[in-house]
């Protein structure tokens, strides 16, 4: 199943990526070829096969809900592109 340029544009927007027209054409072609290869999976009979999301059997990893020190506001903000008075600054959200 190939992917159309319209699909690439739609999915790119879902992923918050803006592509120029040239990239859309290239990606549609390359991703189409990959999806054609992926379509070989249709040959496999998977009736009744459970899916694997995790390769090692593990039970839930529980821990005590204890209060522990955190690394502090300064560390949390250390890599902020823009900050002010202990907060992350972002562009206008509501017009």
């Amino acid at each position: 199943m190939s992917i159309s340029e319209k699909d690439v544009r739609y999915v790119a927007n879902l992923a918050r990526l803006t592509l120029d027209e040239a990239s859309i054409t290239v990606f549609a072609d390359q991703i189409g070829k990959i999806l054609d290869h992926v379509d070989t999976l249709r040959q496999v009979d998977t009736t009744g096969v459970t899916s694997t999301s995790h390769a090692i059997f593990l039970n839930n990893a529980f821990r005590e809900d204890e209060i522990k020190p955190h690394s502090g506001q300064e560390n949390a903000l250390a890599n902020a592109p823009e900050k002010e008075e202990g907060r992350f600054v972002v562009p206008k959200i509501i017009g």
Partner: protein, 492 residues
């Protein structure tokens, strides 16, 4: 022999006998980097000052009787592993100035051994690639022939070990990213069982596949590094609670009676280089000479491995990389006036082409209407691939195959053809899908003088068996002493 040429094991002996100081060793490694890294391009960041200070501390510890096998040993760390106070770029523009405020668990563990971090090594952006050409910073060249890629994504770590710019290195393996560059650079690389090493502080690519592991000059050194980094970590809920064995104890003679399985599907795989086929045939003969029994086994779902992997890995990546939004850390397009523009511009300018391609493929595979056909189907076939291994390990102890169908390929050769690049990962991907361990070790040179690697795979937590078989093979057919002569690129 120059100090930088030493293995971890040999350097450790000299340090303890006071015939060499860590400061001399670390200085020699930096001199070596000075001489050759402008050609190879293995490092993104060097930590000369902190490394020399750590070396002095190590010399004091050794004088006080510290006998840790890694005290004073210079190591390189792949640049997708968080190092407190040392820039961690992931080979991406989006993390170009990111300085972690915490250490990955394995850095805490390694620091405690007294080792010395030399620097951070190059990689494909977010570890997505098989050639290190997808780094936003620079490509890395193969030390054996500078026109060729070192493989990837841990290409910087593999090249640094091969070119003697560190004594050992740490990488990460999501679909072969330790084993394949180790193979292309003629060094030893190990991907441990999923859950053996904590992923805390490893920048996530595909969380159900990622695993940290060592790259080293020989099997014994890889075992020393495995001892240092393995173990349960409460901060990684997928790490497995179990006692860590002493992996170096597996470096002993004798594999008589062990059964080695050769998957018959690997014989018929397309595009197998004749030099690789010959080297593997000779390796099988070596195993027989060592007393191992060789049997043919079947992994019937092998032909679907690439398809399953590239659906699952990209789906997980599209979700993991949603966090790069320009708000809390990393690059931000500061010109954008509205939030949505800021997200879109930050991500479009911050991610390179391969990362964008994978995010789009993964988002598509997870999107409404396509989820069942792609992610759902791939997750089911993943179960069948895991069951293939389970069945195979009922009739053999380890599986033997090439690491890659060809030796290293030329820089630029596959960069515009992602599917061909993905298909070259055919032999390594299945171990990540099944969560099993694998080791890559040199088994010959091609007619062009490029290294060829042998892969051994074992059942979950069979690292000791893999190390034992690899150690015996290496001892019998030692290619670890073959060294690259670093020349010049013919096509700069």
């Amino acid at each position: 022999m120059k100090p930088y040429e030493l293995t971890i094991g040999a350097a450790g002996e000299l340090l303890k006998k006071k015939e060499l100081s860590s400061k001399e060793l670390v200085s020699a490694v930096f001199d070596r980097i000075n001489d050759v890294d402008e050609h190879v391009g293995a490092y993104i960041t060097l930590c000369r000052e902190s490394a020399l200070a750590r070396a002095e501390e190590a010399d004091k510890k050794i004088a006080a009787g510290d006998s840790s096998p890694l005290v004073g040993i210079p190591l390189a760390i792949k640049d997708n592993i968080c190092t407190r106070g040392i820039r961690t770029t992931c080979g991406s523009k989006i993390l170009m100035d990111f300085v972690p405020t915490y250490n990955a668990k394995i850095m805490e563990k390694l620091d405690a051994t007294g080792m010395v971090t030399i620097g951070k090594t190059n990689l494909d952006e977010f570890a997505m690639g098989s050639s290190t050409e997808n780094s936003a910073i620079k490509p890395t060249c193969n030390p054996w022939h500078l026109d060729y890629t070192p493989g990837g994504s841990s290409g910087g770590s593999a090249a640094a070990v091969a070119a003697d710019m560190c004594l050992g290195a740490i990488g990460s393996d999501t679909g072969g990213s330790i084993r394949q560059p180790a193979s292309h650079c003629g060094v030893v690389g190990m991907k441990p069982t999923y859950g053996c090493v904590s992923r805390y502080g490893l920048v996530a690519f595909a969380s159900s596949l990622d695993q940290i592991g060592p790259l080293a000059k020989n099997v014994g050194d890889a075992a020393i590094l495995m001892n240092a980094i393995s173990g349960h970590d409460p901060l990684d809920s997928t790490s497995v609670p179990r006692e860590t064995p002493d992996y170096t104890a597996s470096c002993t003679d004798g594999i008589e009676g062990l059964t080695i399985g050769i998957p018959k599907e690997y014989h018929s795989s397309q595009g197998m280089d004749p030099d690789v086929a010959a080297a593997i045939k000779s390796a099988v003969k070596t195993m027989e000479d060592l007393g191992a029994r060789v049997v043919e086994v079947s992994l019937p779902h092998s032909e679907y491995v690439v398809a399953v992997y590239y659906v699952i890995a990209t789906s997980e990546a599209s979700s993991n990389l949603a966090r790069y939004d320009g708000v809390k850390y990393g690059f931000r397009d500061k010109a954008a006036e509205e939030l949505m523009d800021m997200y879109q511009n930050t991500r479009s300018q911050g991610f390179g082409a391969e990362v964008q391609r994978r995010i789009i493929l993964g988002t598509y595979a997870l999107s409404a209407g396509y989820y069942d056909a792609y992610y759902g189907k791939a997750s089911q076939v993943r179960t069948l691939i895991g069951e293939d291994f389970k069945t195979a390990f009922e009739s053999c102890d380890v599986l033997l195959s090439p690491v890659a169908p060809t030796p290293a390929f030329k820089i630029g050769e596959k960069i515009n053809d992602p599917l061909t690049m993905y298909l070259s990962d055919i032999f390594t991907l299945s171990a990540n899908l099944a969560g099993i361990p694998g080791i890559s070790l040199p088994c010959g040179l091609s007619s062009k003088g490029l290294p060829i690697g042998l892969q051994l795979l074992g059942n979950h937590f069979s690292e000791e068996t893999l190390i034992k078989v690899a150690y015996n093979f290496e001892k019998h057919a030692d290619f670890s002493k073959e060294k690259p002569k670093i020349g010049k690129r013919s096509t700069p």
